[in-house]
């Protein structure tokens, strides 16, 4: 989580310096969801997520250097600069993206689940999406079909209470999103998304359910993004007071306090971790800076797969 936090903060700085372009959606505040949930998965399981994907990528194990370089648009990026912030991929880690279209990856995740059933190989796909994704029609098609066909999909809804600038109550007739999933016949639960241990436990329950062949599971993680929707967001739609209230629930601070009070770690240890992740991120920025850009010849590469 500390790595995710530092990475996002430094990425924001690099964005302001013009090193990162386009859109940048920061995961700050939501770290417990990606970290807690991905810890419950196996190496062979697939992960798909939305455009606020740096946290999931790092939690899944993508190289910090490769992710930062991708944000910088460099040839050493995980997609050689062709995907950018919203489209992080790493096939070797079964990290199947990073998607910019709201809810667009949900049908894909359905397909992955279908394939795992078809191949009878006990894998599952964990698919992360926001509360806003449930506004889209295809999200409902996906819930319907996943339940109908008993697909091994763990749906992880990161409910950060806003779809860009629209609060949940103004976009969903039923704001209890896990209850809505239940209406499709999907086992579901709600969890405090600011508590990494609670998230991991809830995700383990979900994974257990799905891997036992019981069909999909819908986990609604209530969380909050401390920054705007993206770096371009002037955040006019919510108050500073509200943000301050949620900052008190900072998942990293919470977990740190728990580690200290339960004597699982010392302050010295926590400081060492902080220093370590700072160093990793600093190095990734240097790596990205020094890396070359892709060349014009790269423009046409991989538009198509070569014929056998």
């Amino acid at each position: 989580m500390a790595l995710l936090r530092v990475f996002e903060e430094r990425a924001a700085e690099q964005y302001m310096l013009g090193k990162i372009r386009g859109f940048l959606h920061l995961y700050i505040g939501q770290e417990a969801v990606a970290v807690g949930a991905i810890h419950a998965l196996g190496r062979d399981d697939y992960v798909t997520t939305h455009y606020r994907d740096h946290g999931h990528a790092l939690a899944r194990g993508l190289s910090v250097n490769a992710v930062m370089a991708e944000l910088f648009g460099k040839a050493t990026g995980c997609s050689k600069g062709m995907g950018g912030s919203m489209h992080l991929f790493d096939a070797s880690l079964n990290f199947a993206g990073g998607y910019a279209i709201v809810a667009g990856h949900l049908p894909l995740s359905t397909g992955m689940g279908f394939a795992f059933n078809y191949l009878n190989d006990n894998r599952l796909v964990a698919t992360f999406f926001g509360d806003g994704a449930l506004n889209e029609g295809e999200a409902h098609e996906v819930l319907n079909m996943s339940a109908l066909w008993n697909l091994p999909v763990v749906f992880i809804c990161e409910n950060n209470l806003y779809g860009m600038g629209i609060p949940l109550s103004q976009s969903m007739s039923n704001t209890q999103l896990h209850k809505m999933a239940e209406s499709y016949g999907i086992a579901s639960a709600q969890v405090d998304g600011m508590d990494v241990l609670a998230v991991r436990e809830a995700a383990e329950t979900a994974v257990q359910h799905v891997r036992s062949g019981n069909g999909p599971y819908f986990l609604e993680a209530r969380t909050y993004r401390f920054r705007g929707h993206s770096m371009a967001d002037p955040v006019l739609y919510r108050s500073k007071d509200e943000e301050a209230e949620y900052r008190k629930l900072d998942p990293i601070a919470q977990y740190g306090e728990w580690l200290l009070s339960s004597k699982m770690a010392t302050q010295k240890k926590l400081d060492a971790i902080s220093a370590e992740v700072e160093k990793q991120v600093e190095e990734s920025i240097a790596f990205a800076e020094e890396s070359p850009f892709p060349s014009p010849e790269d423009l046409y590469r991989n538009v198509y797969a070569q014929l056998p």
Binding site: F89, G97, A100, P107, L108, G111, E138, L148, Y304, L307
Partner: protein, 324 residues
Amino acid sequence: MTEMILREAVTKALREALEDDRVFIMGEDIGAYGGAYAVTRGFLDEFGPERIMDTPISESVIVGAGVGSALAGLRPIVELMTINFSLVAIDQIVNHAAKLRYMSDGQFSVPLVIRTVTGGGGQLAATHSQSFENWYASVPGLKVAVPATPYDALGLFRAAMKDDNPILFAEHSLLYGMRGEVPDEWYEIPFGQADIKRKGNDVTIVAYSRMTHVALQAAAMLEEKGRQAEVIDLRTLRPWDKETVLESVRKTNRVVVVEETWKTGGFSGEIASTIQEEAFDDLDGPVARVGGLDVPAPYNGTLEAAAIPNSERIIKALSDNYGI
């Protein structure tokens, strides 16, 4: 050689494809109903419900799940009942299927075939009579096939199944009964290879899908007037066989492009533009274009027919542009 109709050629192609365990077919009413156009009749009994999946009416997930299962190692064939309904899934086709390989820098591929039915002329009215292959042919990352004969349908589908790219395979609704000879020996037709359906020296007619047959009718009419038309069937729109077209134009110096979809923004514009860019000095006049009239398809049969290109319009276009 065996004579068969286009529907049988597609059915044969699907049967062959299903010999690979990674292949399955998914779509609306393809199983128990036997397929809206009867292409997959009997498949449910023959191949079972695990491989012949009847879906809810959810085009977005039909295509998206096709993409996702391809990402996970299968080789799906999904069906969109008609290309009109593809609009519901256009995000999955254009933003996902077409772009995943590029955005992941080749880490993930989408070996997906999207079969669909295109075209009008059956009095199905405005929302059930459209042809959008030209729109999809604009999208880098997609390939688009538009076969007009059983031979072409079978040959192109075989190539499609070997291809690791997402392919839109558009079968024309009025061509399923088209008869043709199909070799008994194995053959394949690569994408980007047009077929000269009729040789001639006086004028080139470029067409695809059902308009190929309309072009051949026009060629017969021209022959009565002492003119020999060369009819080129593009067979695929992306990639399309520019060289065959240009070579013909350099020979005949006169060309008309015929297309069923609306003339405005049609693929004929792309073809005409390319011809005038690369064979300008070989043209005796501007490239002629005959396309669907810029109207939604009316229900009434006479009006509908008036909106779709026919051989008379082709003859007139040639007369207007080239005085022949």
